[in-house]
Symmetry: C2
Subunit: 468 residues, 2 copies
């Protein structure tokens, strides 16, 4: 894994901190909110991921000797360098649960601490959460499409450098069962998967000889790649021959893999050939430029596929490539803070806030959340954020708070959870979400409302800034 | 940086290696070629990057105790685990120069070693070279557009996790001057850059007070962000006031930054206001969703911009997200190897090869390369790879070999070069490339030809595989 130090950040976090330090503001309390503006992939929800990695990095964040030497060379003064040498993140973090559904324009994480500490965490937080949430969301969409079939991450070779390491973890949170990435499997305790490449078949003069060699040495885990020469004329007959030889030895050919051609048609033909040969137990795996739409199409065509290996589109989050998460100042200088915008939807929500999900008595989700202030008493109604004449009575809902303390004054308050538990939680949450939010085409809009106190606070600050 | 171990790979590399090991093939020589099939971004060239990181990782690649424990748990046998414990990469690597122009369907790197060592390097190589080359290519396109203006990488917050670390390096190879990523700056010796965010301005009740605080503490490096409230009505007048106060103290306001709105129009207005106030030396920096096309458009409109800060599109390589580089077996089992395909353009080039660039006597590039066998005498003509009746006489060209040994039997044979030298080399190469290959719309196709010996070798193997 990466040896994060506190210079894993944008330079301006350090220059601003230097100013705050010399202005005597190093102990001033600030609150920053992490949120995003647009759901990726044109979808109706996103999945939150990356929190565990963030908390681990934040716990150990230090300026090491190399960092300090660099900053000295960059002209930082001695008093500030002394401060940085002692830097620890001692703030408080409240966050959505990893694996939970997240939606735009409301806090997903809230960081409260000294203004310098909170500022110095920003880039690490954005870098970790934006990417892992994007990948978990992409994975979750494929999990919906795969409808119970197995999904495996094959992405490392096309992954954005070492980003591929965390992508494997995020993929599991979103619903993938395993990864080809051995190192990620090792460190994150994810099942690993993989058998043979074309190069293995090519190394031999004869495809049958290659298959036999593999079956001999790895009889317990033999998935034969059948498209090196000709899938139906060569690969499948050879695989069936080896499958039957294995059966005669009391072994079991586990599967065949298709990596080119028309996967729906080839899967059907291959299934028929296997069944005809008495190899009904042999699974069919496919790979090659898959994404949620291709997987859905293959299953809509009733292709008899048991396992999907997904690479590029998973680990790059294609076509979106980035979640647009931001980290905005909500409180400082002893007051809630606002950033104005011509567009009222881009004006941030000031102050310390909580987000409540609206849940029906049967546990299903209504499809909306209300944002209030943390010191606000019970919230009965919510207001549309830009058309406040639209009011929704909340009496019929349970209001589930979404932000939970995960770090208090620099100390973690929760245990790391196995990634499979996060995946199970994520899938359970998704089951509570109505189908209209899960479809790929024009999903229903998940609502956001403001409490009366938050609405009034925002409007008061807007008037003040505009000199009203 | 990441602590690479030999499990930073796909599981199937290890399972195939186990088979080779037990089949007594561990010392068999294999040659693999790294190449890609499609130029990213619809462009006419790509830039090679990532080699230095690959060589460093390959030099130190080991299965550590945690790796071996995992593989034991996965059922790998004791004899093979003993082999892995002693695993070192002792192969030979020939590669294009980092920063050089690269083109599709011809080797960019050639790896020769024992079949297991060469196979175990595959995923690390692809992961490193595919991503860094994608980003260097994206950066190079922006360098063309920026036409001498400064480019700075602002991407870490939107970068794919720790992939953003190497992206900063690749960006410099492609023509960026600096990065906001302090850690990458530290480790790769890249200039770092960054001053203030909106949160800094918001922290104060008054924009002017915020600007004055910054100018007081960082007078030598003061770039004021002017769009927090209203760029022309508030941000610019306040910046000008602070710039004049600084001038009165004998200091120099370095610049202002625009991060929203119509950047062309705002830059022109801001430039006029600065000049009017006698602040002609103050630079204008812009950021916000830039890419090569936006930069070109801004300069086509004669926007007086001195510096472009680029984030998401740089570090994600949007819209392509991945370079489709592959690693194909070209020699094993004492013979050149071929992978057939229905599409002759996807049939790989067998055997040990060299690539020669066709260069005119004046040093400019013709726009094509010929691929031959390493043991082939002088190449006089080249043949179109799929229409061999098309022949080009090479007499008028110098043939510059592109693959150079960088590792011989596991030992590096070249020194690491400063990344700025790689950038200078890249820009020099780009100057030799005719303009038709550098335009963004329908660039000219850079040719590939095969030598007579390679063409005959490929066709012989195709006939043999097809039983002809």
């Amino acid at each position: 894994m990466f040896d994060f130090t506190a210079t894993y950040t944008d330079q301006y976090q350090i220059t601003m901190s230097q100013v705050y330090f010399h202005k005597g503001l190093q102990d001033e309390t600030a609150v920053f909110d992490y949120f995003f503006r647009d759901l990726p992939f044109g979808g109706g929800y996103a999945i939150f991921a990356g929190l565990e990695d963030l908390l681990q990095a934040a716990t150990n964040l230090r300026f090491d000797a190399n960092d300090l030497a660099l900053l000295k060379k960059e002209g930082m003064d001695a008093a500030f360098l002394d401060y940085l040498e002692d830097f620890r993140f001692t703030g408080t973090i409240r966050a959505a649960r990893e694996g939970d559904l997240i939606f735009p324009n409301r806090p997903v994480v809230s960081v409260e601490g000294s203004i310098i500490e909170a500022q110095l965490l920003e880039t690490l937080l954005l870098n970790t959460l934006n990417y892992q949430s994007l990948i978990a969301t992409k994975a979750s969409r494929m999990w919906l499409s795969a409808n119970g079939r197995t999904l495996v991450d094959f992405g490392l070779r096309r992954a954005p450098g070492t980003g591929g390491y965390a992508a494997s973890r995020a993929a599991v949170i979103g619903g993938f069962e395993a990864t080809s990435n051995v190192r990620a499997g090792r460190d994150y305790h994810i099942p690993i998967s993989g058998t043979m490449a074309h190069s293995f078949v090519q190394r031999y003069d004869d495809e049958l000889e290659a298959f036999r060699a593999f079956a001999e040495i790895r009889p317990h885990d033999c998935v034969l790649l059948v498209d090196t020469y000709d899938t139906l004329e060569s690969g499948m007959p050879h695989a069936i021959q080896v499958g039957q030889e294995m059966a005669a030895r009391g072994e079991q050919l586990k599967g065949i893999r298709l990596d080119s051609g028309d996967l729906a048609w080839l899967a059907k033909q291959s299934r028929a050939m296997l069944d005809e040969a008495g190899l009904e137990e042999v699974k069919i795996a496919v790979s090659n430029q898959l994404d949620e739409h291709v997987i859905k199409s293959l299953l809509d065509q009733e292709a008899p596929i048991d396992l999907f290996g997904v690479g590029t589109s998973l680990v790059t989050g294609r076509p979106d490539a980035a979640l647009d998460g931001v980290y905005k100042l909500a409180f400082a200088n002893n007051e809630p803070r606002l950033k104005l915008s011509e567009n009222i939807e881009k004006v941030n929500l000031p102050g310390r806030k909580q987000v409540f999900r609206l849940v029906y008595p049967d546990g299903s989700f209504y499809g909306g959340e209300v944002v209030g202030l943390t010191d606000e008493p019970a919230i009965d109604v919510m207001y549309h954020p830009t058309e406040p004449e639209k009011v929704l009575d909340l009496e019929r809902f349970e209001l589930q708070p979404l932000l939970h303390p995960v770090m208090v004054e620099g100390e973690r308050t929760t245990e790391p959870q196995p990634v499979q538990e996060l995946a199970a939680f994520s899938q359970a949450q998704l089951r509570h979400l109505p189908d209209e939010f899960k479809r790929f085409e024009n999903p229903h809009l998940y609502k956001i409302g403001l409490s009366q106190a938050l609405l009034e606070e925002r409007d008061r600050l807007m008037r003040a800034h505009r000199g009203g």
